[in-house]
Symmetry: D2
Subunit: 339 residues, 4 copies
């Protein structure tokens, strides 16, 4: 079993903690957070040997094999460097940082330490999307021509979150950028954004958007389109489609139930699952199991630091496209950030 | 939390054990089975305080609040009596016994001891079927007129299992008998069976059937029809429908994924989940949580000994109907078994 | 082209007339009805050479190749005999008569005249059901084990219709009896009915039922179940399923549109088509085209007098089963009616 | 009834002719084409009073109320002018011309003559899309934020067709441009295209593309995205979705049948309808009925010359966007074409 420490006990840190406690592959050795009062009286207090405000107690614990970095994005770089230096494998939530230079620095530290590093693109571990990707990779739909991702949150986050989110492209679309790379099996050439502030003026006030259609072209000729909204009132809308010269493969939403009710007035089916923790419940478990297996069996990770870096690059290109109202070439952004 | 002991560590006993270990409502204090070698080296050995071949160690443990009886059906009666006598609440797998007299004896012991008794009709705790039932009870489809249950196993059990199963009606249809009672909100008047041995001659050799269509009429006027097969090659087929004077409500199968693949040759969707442990994974968790809550909060059980008894009565009536090729009135069976 | 005369210009007669006028295979030479005032000013008056109250003008017209008998059931026998005697091919609406003796007499007249005779089981010509049947016949689902037909009208007919309908089994279930024969590729051994008067007391007052579940066993071992209601408030419900040892094939309802509307309150899809003329619009066209082709190319009919007779036999058996509350063997009914 | 003459007896002209012959609202008085040999021996020769190579025989027939212009696009302008001068109402296939100047000239002639002019955007008359539009206009999904159209042909047209097609945007996407205007209830601000030649090098050789993702922003803030392919091997793919602040409405493909086949190997559903004449069969009938009603009852047309003009403007803007690899503002194109 893989012994794990968690840095950051917010919503996502606690989700991982809970999943580890039910796991037969991972073992939870410690949790560190700047605040630990909220863990009092919880199952974590009973079952986790170390709960601390000092992350070094995790990093320096010789029994800990790997750390999950679930703290706020601005703290990732330092924690990654400390963890890497201590020889711990790392699962880091997305984005790695808000700044490609910092992300490069983090990945350089990981490389030098020779530890494994997985970025938290949980959707790669969703069984539906996994099957879509497997179908594409098996050649069943031929060469991909058009890739479509609909990704809409059920409701907008609070303003405090928006302020610290890095903007919609870095916070939300980043998952979709990773998904289109994953599905296309190719790298992006350019990014073109149409975006707007239609859901809530609060986004605009904070220099952000809440609605976008993003088009990308790939080296293999495929064209992808992502549509995003911060508010789909009917639930968490997460659909993908890959269309190629031999066919198409798509994944529909997961409904809350498969129940249909027919009356004189209407025929209703159930809403999509509403919340990401519900929609991706099994994907989060699969994500940490695959991480554990990659380490325990020394196999390649399914989702690497480079994947995290490239998705951030796309988010940055999207921001430039939106601000400058033009198509942005990846080479151009890469040059900017590399200097 | 509810402290639980498990009697019988076969497939279903281990399933409950695993669910309890991940639960925040139940606590696993002990497991008893006539064979315990197969538990060596498992997570149960690590995490369960008592693993024993002597069930009395469970029954006499003052810390144990409730027992799950998961042993073979022919042992249920004795274990129920011992558990009741020891003042333990009971969750017993179906059927309670193969014999209505024994079932009555068991329920009498439970009644005298004043303990709670839940029978293992896991499907009542499936979210899809629960929503169908709630919709009916809320009056949204009016008075039920026609109730349909398709219940088909993915593959036949081995001959050894069939010999000890009590026959298809008692082993498999019993879940469907409970479901139509649950959905109709009424009691059965008569049962009429058309059955056949079409899947495998082995069933016939053992005096059993593998295919059946069972029609039931209810006191409230509704008519139900159950269709069963021991072998649906495409997966575990579990669908229900209630049709009433104001509408209809139905639950479709759960597919393995929501992925669709369209090519020149075909458009394919995914198979239904294949195995009952997969299809009813969440229902099994909900089943024990509801049991724990009913005890911890002293609330009524959602599935009682009487429900178990009545489903057995229907299985018996179905056997008579099949053998005598006629419609069988419940009152008639009840008289027979009461004498 | 096939020259056709229509006997009976009610709803179904006019439907055929309209379809013939748009057809490139059939030509409408005349319409006869006891009332013809309602045809004044219609397109039929403009486009049909003969409109008459005297059916003999149709039967004796040497240019007429075939007649469609669309008058009330009690007039079928005489019209069939007249048409057969005049050497006209016949498409007759269902049932051929309310009385197996009369049906035999009609079919005898047809046989003696050597004309072709098709009974109006329009559903055999529905593209969905046709594909189900073709799939079964191609062996794709193996030997049929269970056949299911849901057949529910959107709303009850008026009392006047009910009085003259021959009862639900002869009027409505007759289509389903034909369908299970068509789908099973086998003949029925016995029929067992559970029926009730749940929709409207008017049916009971007229000695009829409005809700039924009918089970049939077949010579090839298959078991079929039909469920009927005179009132499905959500629309015309017409679904079939054949389950066999290698798989299952089913046809769902046709919805009015493929539109889905998702809001915070609900996710709605469209109702099934409401009316049989809408649901089976294309089937009615295919029915007459296949009739015309069978005659013009001298090929076997897809739906014969024998099919009509056997469905009536099943309707009669169902009536007996319902009245005597027992399973009825076809051989037994056949004996009764043959004397 | 409306008396109609048809100019151009190719595939679409014959389709209209056939629909008129079955119609109770329209009457076919004549057909004109430069070639009429292919009509010999057809139902048209029997049933249409005038079949001629001289279109003036149609235009000068005082009994003709309206003409359907179904000839090749390069002939539209002259025929429209002749028809308008003769006081005939006009239904003209899309595009009106390949050149906005000519289209303006045609519409000017129509305006001066005071006749009605409908452009052949048949999809507006599809029941599915009509319901989507009605749902949007009724405010049920609130303000539209994102509009999605998937429009993929089943197979590429022959090279001869491509050469004369005006390019994919003018030939194929023009329907989608009209659809997004229809669905948004607003006018386009700018158009941005990513396109490629992925299906067949023949398109590239002819300066055309076969695959495209086109993004449009609207005055009301909505963003639309159209994806096109000249070859969807699984059938004619025609789906739309409108997402707004109160919900979403979408229309799925029409399948050939509603049949599902489940075996051990696969669960298959049917392909989408393959051919546009099949998919839009009823829409073509509704299109001419609405045209006839608008004239007979002097009501507004549902699809005007201005709609034709604006869709052509969008096709032109798309061409510029594709060639210059930039977002193109409609105002800019309008200026270019107006000079």
């Amino acid at each position: 079993m893989l012994n794990v420490g968690i840095i950051g006990a917010g919503r996502i840190g606690q989700l991982h903690a809970s999943n580890i406690l039910s796991s037969s592959l991972l073992n939870l050795k410690g949790i560190s957070d700047i605040h630990i009062e909220h863990l009092k009286g919880t199952i974590y207090e009973q079952k986790v040997p170390v709960i601390t405000t000092d992350p070094e107690k995790i990093f320096q614990d010789p029994e800990v094999d790997a750390v999950f970095i679930c703290s706020s994005t601005d703290t990732h770089l330092n924690f990654i460097k400390s963890a890497a230096k201590a020889g711990k494998h790392i699962l880091c939530e997305k984005p790695i940082s808000f700044n490609l230079g910092e992300t490069e620095e983090a990945l350089q530290a990981v490389k030098e330490a020779g530890v494994k590093f997985q970025v938290g693109f949980n959707r790669r571990f969703d069984k539906h999307f996994r099957k879509v990707c497997d179908t594409v990779q098996a050649g069943k739909i031929g060469s991909p021509h058009i890739i479509k991702v609909s990704s809409r949150d059920p409701e907008p986050p609070p303003e405090e979150y928006v302020k610290r989110s890095g903007g919609m492209f870095m916070d939300m679309t980043i998952h979709d950028f990773d998904m289109v790379r994953y599905l296309s099996g190719s790298e992006v050439i350019d990014v073109s954004v149409k975006a707007a502030n239609l859901v809530d003026p609060m986004f605009g006030k904070n220099g952000d958007v809440d609605t976008a259609v993003i088009t990308l072209t790939f080296e293999n000729g495929a064209i992808a389109v992502i549509d995003n909204s911060r508010q789909a009132v009917y639930g968490y809308d997460q659909r993908i489609e890959v269309f190629g010269d031999s066919g198409a493969v798509s994944a529909e939403n997961e409904a809350q139930t498969n129940v249909q009710i027919a009356t004189k007035e209407s025929v209703t089916i159930d809403h999509p699952k509403h919340f990401f923790l519900d929609r991706y419940k099994d994907a989060y478990i699969e994500e940490i199991n695959q991480f554990a297996k990659a380490i325990l069996e020394d196999k390649p990770l399914l989702c690497t630091g480079e994947d995290g870096y490239k998705a951030e690059l796309l988010a940055l290109a999207a921001s430039v496209s939106w601000k400058e109202k033009r198509s942005v070439s990846l080479s151009e952004v890469f040059t900017v950030t590399a200097t």
